[in-house]
């Protein structure tokens, strides 16, 4: 009887302690996952944000042009409906260590006076939504707005080669700590 009780007590303590460890581990995993998702979304968002508001030319249409690939999209709505699993680089190469991850993009016109409201007709403001879904099934969303009259739409008077986007992939000392993120330099005011 006493031995049974002692085993029960030890068992309860053991379950409680391992449960605590498990909670800590889950919380840390969650932190890693959310950070990874945030940076991954930032990389894709940076790539989109450095694009033109709309297709260049006299008669732009909304959405990706048939036959074009991600590498040739230089207008934000080219990314509308884009889905990749696993996530890839702009050149279409799958990012290492992201098996089971999915990233998708939705672009829509929104009201300039009320950016939270999706507009049914074309406006001068677009909302870009990047959604990254982790293998756990949890989705992380990043939203940005892009104006037709923003700094990225300023065309220099003479032809100049600008660096409009930088994709950064950095692997730290521990395995599985590769960071993929990006930047979109706003270097319109200076020659390259």
């Amino acid at each position: 009887m006493e031995a049974t009780l002692s085993v029960a007590i030890v068992g309860i303590l053991l379950v409680a302690s391992t449960g605590t460890f498990g909670s800590i581990a889950r919380a840390r995993k969650q932190q890693i996952e959310s950070r990874t998702a945030y940076l991954l979304a930032q990389q894709l968002m940076a790539e989109i944000m450095q694009c033109y508001f709309q297709q260049q030319g006299s008669n732009p249409t909304f959405g990706p042009v048939a036959g074009q690939t991600r590498a040739s999209w230089n207008y934000v709505d080219g990314y509308n409906g884009y889905v990749a699993s696993p996530p890839t680089s702009q050149g279409g190469v799958a990012l290492a260590g992201y098996a089971g991850w999915t990233e998708s993009v939705a672009v829509s016109f929104v009201s300039p006076s009320s950016p939270g409201a999706i507009a049914g007709a074309p406006t001068t403001l677009k909302q870009i939504t990047v959604t990254v879904t982790a293998p756990s099934g949890k989705s992380y969303v990043q939203v940005a707005l892009r104006s037709q009259y923003g700094a990225y739409e300023l065309i220099p008077s003479s032809q100049t080669n600008y660096i409009t986007g930088v994709a950064v992939s950095l692997q730290g000392p521990a395995p599985g700590t590769t960071i993929n993120t990006g930047a979109h330099p706003l270097n319109i005011s200076s020659s390259q």
Partner: protein, 315 residues
């Protein structure tokens, strides 16, 4: 006596027997190591998670600082997969931008270095295993006008120069093939320069570009045509530019004939200077003439070449 026996019997029942004690010890000796190893495994997993979390956080911090700087980059002077050097807006009230540099040696374990404005490099992240920077360049702004260049030129006589008189029957043709950079897929012909002089009448000369036949003689297929008024010519030979428009997208392998004829109603239309030699003057250059207003052209000869140049632009 009876009550003592009952009490001692009661006391004996409340104590552990030796067998119970031994059994408990045996059970505990089995359970405790199991518990210990489970706790150790959980602890190790937690520690590994903490280490990985910390490492990822440090890498994320370093990457964030890099992208923070890159987002305000003005002018890149170095762009490789392992390094980037660029200027950022003035942070020191110095009146000019400062230079920021990020670099990694490429050797796993070496640190990611950051250098600000020529100062000492500091390790932004130690033990880096890999770094890859991919830059997206974009050409913006209107394309500059293409620079006109000579596509064919014969301005220095190889043999002796002569005047070739032109009238309503005597016409002349110079075949040429444009000399273009390797890989040129098309070009735009902009003008032809000829060494011309006026004749005794104020007539009108027609300068046309035509496709040749197999013997380098002009055919009736006119590509473009322009007019030269003799009144604008000097009595001495001088270089005259004859401009053409709308001649973009020309095939760089296609030779053309510069044909000098009289415009309708003109008779004597001046003269063009030619270079004559016993030997071939230029490759892919053939002179041809007619004395019956183009009914019969002489076979193209490489020993005669009009003093001329052809200009155009290459995209």
């Amino acid at each position: 006596m009876k009550s003592f026996r009952r009490r001692s019997s009661h006391l004996r029942r409340r104590a552990f027997t030796l067998v119970e004690m031994v059994m408990s010890l045996v059970i505990l000796s089995v359970i405790l190591p199991v518990c210990g190893s489970i706790v150790m495994m959980a602890g190790r997993a937690t520690t590994d998670g903490a280490t990985r979390n910390l490492a990822q956080m440090q890498a994320a911090d370093a990457a964030s600082q890099m992208t923070d700087d890159l987002n305000v980059a003005l002018n890149f002077t170095q762009r490789t997969a392992l390094a980037a050097t660029f200027t950022v807006p003035d942070r020191l009230s110095a009146g000019s931008p400062q230079v920021v540099s990020y670099s990694w040696s490429g050797n796993p374990g070496d640190p990611l270095l950051r250098q600000f404005n020529g100062g000492a490099s500091t390790a932004l992240l130690n033990g880096v295993q890999n770094l890859n920077l991919a830059f997206t360049p974009r050409l913006m702004g209107p394309a500059p006008a293409a620079t006109e260049q000579a596509l064919f030129s014969h301005t220095t006589a190889f043999g002796s120069t002569h005047g070739n008189n032109l009238d309503n029957n005597n016409w002349a043709s110079q075949y040429f093939v444009p000399n273009l950079p390797i890989g040129t897929s098309s070009y735009t012909l902009t003008r032809v320069r000829l060494l011309l002089k006026s004749g005794p009448q104020s007539a009108v000369m027609s300068v046309s570009l035509r496709f040749p036949d197999a013997l380098f003689r002009p055919t009736g297929a006119i590509v473009a045509q322009a007019t030269v008024y003799e009144s604008a010519l000097s009595s001495q030979y001088e270089w005259i530019d004859v401009r053409f428009t709308g001649l973009s997208g020309q095939n760089p392998l296609q030779g053309l004939c510069i044909v000098l004829t009289n415009a309708t109603g003109s008779t004597n239309i001046g003269a063009v200077q030619i270079d004559q030699s016993l030997f071939s003057i230029l490759s892919n250059a053939y002179w041809s003439s007619t004395a019956n207003a183009g009914q019969n052209w002489s076979i193209g000869a490489s020993t005669t070449t009009a003093m001329c140049s052809v200009y155009g632009t290459v995209p």
